[in-house]
């Protein structure tokens, strides 16, 4: 005990302050917030491997004003699959929140036969409760995938609707780049506490989706 006491004593300066060498952990996993840290906080990450859907059912609350989902190289099991998302107000039991959305795209094919910009009336929603289309006709060739970002604002508000803004790019099944711009609001004053991503047909074979809180 005497040696242990001396060891402990040596971990303090003469004024009683803990010396830096006395902390036996360079990461200190218990520290979850740091004033000096960045403002984009990784909350969770999921890697797809033949999953029917990728759901985030925890961590979406009033801690952050904004949540940012980055979907990276999502690859469908089925060719021409549509990548979609929805929100839940009951922790993920049901994904059927009313939303109104707009969507437009710029596209260009590898063979240079078409390039255009246009609104997509087939993929928007007017007070719909279905999954919102993000990308369409995603190819499932070995090198074909989609990536993008979804920003969800103030999901825990019980006063206002919840706005979201999405931008994505996908590799179209007939070999083209489709740049999508989607925005809208969950038309509910209930808190959104879960988000689900899936292809409308087939599984999510590969890809990662990260959820960040923006503080």
């Amino acid at each position: 005990m005497g040696q242990a006491t001396r060891n402990i004593a040596n971990s303090f300066t003469t004024s009683g302050v803990i010396t830096s060498s006395a902390v036996n952990n360079t990461t200190i996993s218990g520290i979850t917030d740091l004033s000096a840290g960045g403002s984009l906080i990784l909350l969770s990450e999921q890697t797809a491997s033949g999953d029917a859907s990728i759901s985030f059912t925890s961590g979406i609350d009033s801690t952050y004003d904004e949540y940012c989902f980055i979907f990276n190289n999502c690859h469908p099991a089925t060719d021409t699959a549509t990548f979609t998302f929805q929100g839940s107000t009951d922790g993920g039991s049901n994904y059927n929140t009313t939303m109104t959305t707009s969507i437009f795209e710029a596209l260009h094919f590898e063979n240079d036969t078409m390039a255009q910009l246009g609104y997509l009336t087939s993929y928007d929603q007017a007070q719909g409760t279905g999954y919102q289309t993000i990308t369409s006709a995603q190819g499932n060739g070995a090198d074909e995938s989609l990536s993008g970002i979804l920003k969800l604002y103030n999901p825990s508000s019980t006063t206002y609707v919840k706005h979201f803004i999405i931008r994505s790019n996908n590799y179209y099944y007939t070999n083209g780049s489709f740049d999508r711009y989607i925005a809208g609001y969950f038309n509910t004053t209930s808190a959104i506490d879960a988000i689900d991503f899936k292809f409308t047909s087939g599984n999510v074979d590969d890809g990662t989706i990260q959820m960040f809180g923006v503080k």
Binding site: N10, S11, I28, L34, T101, F104, Y153, V161, Y185
Partner: protein, 220 residues
């Protein structure tokens, strides 16, 4: 007292080093700087303002050469009057005057809840050609209890005294007439003076509620 010493001793390992479990503070708010080797991220929250019946929300400090880009995030911003445009202007004199010359573009995609109208169109009402007035960021936000706008505006290299200062904005608005509108505006502040303050407001009436955050973004 013996129990306290025993408890204290249990928080140290046999070499006298403090265990992680011995630190009873999850935020360590006193730490304001990290060693260069620590990856702390490149986006830093500089200030936050919460509206409560304000005519304007102004950021008059923190915009300088410290960061390469600045990002303003406006979240659940609610006007006191119906159908108001959320807009911004810049200052080169610390906020005494918000009247910087600017040239900009604006286009929107909208869709109404009744599913009877959609568009993707350039918005001539929202652009500027060497104008000095406030420029639109979000259109026609409603004042119903649940109606707001949210989005973000990026301002690049505001302290340059050589070049103009570019900005890019994207927003979503719940309009007074139950239209959902996705707005894209971008342009440049046509001045070689440093821009050191930014002002936000609605085109009329007050900002009843909402949060605006200023981030500094380092690109190196």
């Amino acid at each position: 007292m013996g129990t306290r010493i025993t408890s204290l001793a249990n928080n140290f390992d046999t070499t006298g080093k403090l265990k992680a479990a011995g630190i009873n503070n999850a935020s360590l708010s006193g730490i304001t700087a990290l060693p260069s080797g620590v990856n702390a991220g490149k986006m830093t929250l500089l200030s936050t303002q919460t509206a409560s019946g304000d005519a304007t929300i102004n950021f008059t400090s923190g915009i300088d050469s410290t960061y390469d880009a600045y990002c303003f995030k406006y979240i659940s911003v609610h006007p006191s009057g119906d159908g108001r445009n959320f807009e911004f202007n810049a200052s080169t004199d610390g906020g005494s005057n918000y009247n910087v010359t600017k040239t900009s573009t604006s286009f929107i995609a909208y869709h109404n809840e009744a599913d009877s109208a959609t568009t993707l169109a350039y918005e001539t009402d929202g652009d500027e050609a060497q104008g000095t007035g406030y420029v639109h960021l979000a259109y026609n936000t409603g004042a119903d209890n649940d109606q707001t706008c949210s989005g973000e505006m990026w301002l690049y290299n505001p302290s340059s005294t050589t070049y103009v200062k570019h900005w890019i904005n994207v927003s979503d608005s719940y309009q007074f007439n139950d239209y959902q509108t996705n707005t894209f505006t971008a342009g440049y502040l046509n001045t070689t003076s440093a821009v050191d303050a930014i002002s936000f407001r609605f085109s009329a009436d007050n900002i009843d509620a909402g949060t605006i955050k200023l981030f500094g973004v380092s690109t190196s």
